[in-house]
Amino acid sequence: MVSYNRRMSRRRALRAASIAIRLSRYSPVVLTSLAGLLLLISMFNPDVWKNPRTAASDAFSPVVSIVGAPFRFIGDTVGELTGLSQIRTENARLKAENDQLKEWYQTAMLLRAENQSLKDLLNVLPEPEQSYITTRVISDSASSYVRTLLLQAGTADGVQEGQAVMGGKGMIGRVIEVGNKASRVLLLTDINSHIPVVIEGINQRAILTGNNDDTLTLVHLPPDVLVSKGLRITTSGTGGQFPAGLPIGEITSVSGGHIRVRLFSDPSSAGYVQIVEKPINPDVRKSLDSLISGPSQNIRSK
């Protein structure tokens, strides 16, 4: 009986070893095929992997942040050191600019007062005040074919999917995935980015699409519209996803029906970004205010 058990256990061990050898022989083929299959699914339906990707970004964001810290420090230090030599010229330029801005400030105050009085006359509902979440960029997509950034803020910090993301001078992208502690931004330069915009000056609506390079393209414009170089592009607010009027960039070239736009803010050099909290419909806010203040006050006000 004992010898039978021994023989059986030896046979089992041999079978396990033979399975292990077979697995190790075929594992490269199996794993490569599995990776190829995952790739095909991802190419035709990228949203399938949204949740695992968000969970992974969430889990790895603290480690990525730690690894990137020395590089950020070096970048900041080098920036400060090289900046010292430029301070004098920068100071002179800023003084001249400040004198100009003082004049603009007076004009702006006059226009603001005029605008407010006109709005009062027309009974226009006030625009909701905008609030921002400032956060740090911890990594990017490590590819020229996908233009995304990973931010160190998530739902715990009030970030929501679809919010606009601003660089130093203008909009650079929108939030597409939100985890608890991290979120991913699809840059406007990505080929999959399409956002509704308006061309300032001629007040023409269009769609701004990315090309996976530094310039973007304006599409869906009527053929008879005259567009010239230098016109500013801002968000149109159509669809209610972003607030209207966020600066994006300016038209840099118009040739053969192709209108190229350059962003005001370079997304590749963004160290910190501001996430614009979604605009609240003024009517909704009004009804919420009335709910909070209670029905009695509501009746009195009527």
Binding site: S24, S27, P28, L31, T32, L34, A35, G36, L37, L38, L39, L40, I41, S42, M43, F44, P46, V48, W49, P52, R53, A56, S57, F60, V63, V64, V67, G68, F71, I74, G75, V78, V137, I138, S139, D140, S141, A142, S143, S144, Y145, V146, T148, L150, E177, R184, I191, N192, N211, N212, D213, S268, S269
Partner: protein, 173 residues
Amino acid sequence: MPGLLNSVSFSLMQASKYGAVYVMLAFLLLLSLVNIPVLQSGEIRQGFFLIGLYFWTTYRPNLLPYFVVFLFGMVMDLISGGLIGLHAFCFMVLAIIVRGQRRFLLGQSWQMVWAGFFLAVALTQTFQALAYAIPSSHLPDLKHLTVNIVLAGLLYPLFHPIFMAYNRYLSES
């Protein structure tokens, strides 16, 4: 009892020595994703992890079983926000090719090994460019692709001596 303690501590030492290779690879993977001001292009930074993968697959293939290569690829895919399976596929293909050629590579000078790395980078980057070109119907910019391949390949000599020294240390201990 002291004998047991000695053998346990020896095993732990050995494990930590070999484990350091995985720590190095994990660090290089994360380094590929960090926004470094001098290396703006992601493709160049991807070279960091490829160097580790290429070197250790050539010199210590037993330390890098295929499932580990696959796992590293999947982690990179998940964190980078790109196509899932793309890096895993590229790394697996690269590991299979390098393992097939390692006997040839081991007998060569380091410059030849470096030349092999250029081929490895060219292969992975071209495949990635094509993988993104298919769904977007946009042909990759060849000039941009070539520059990225060359620059990523140039990173190799920075890491080769360090890895080689550690490889010798592993052989001696």
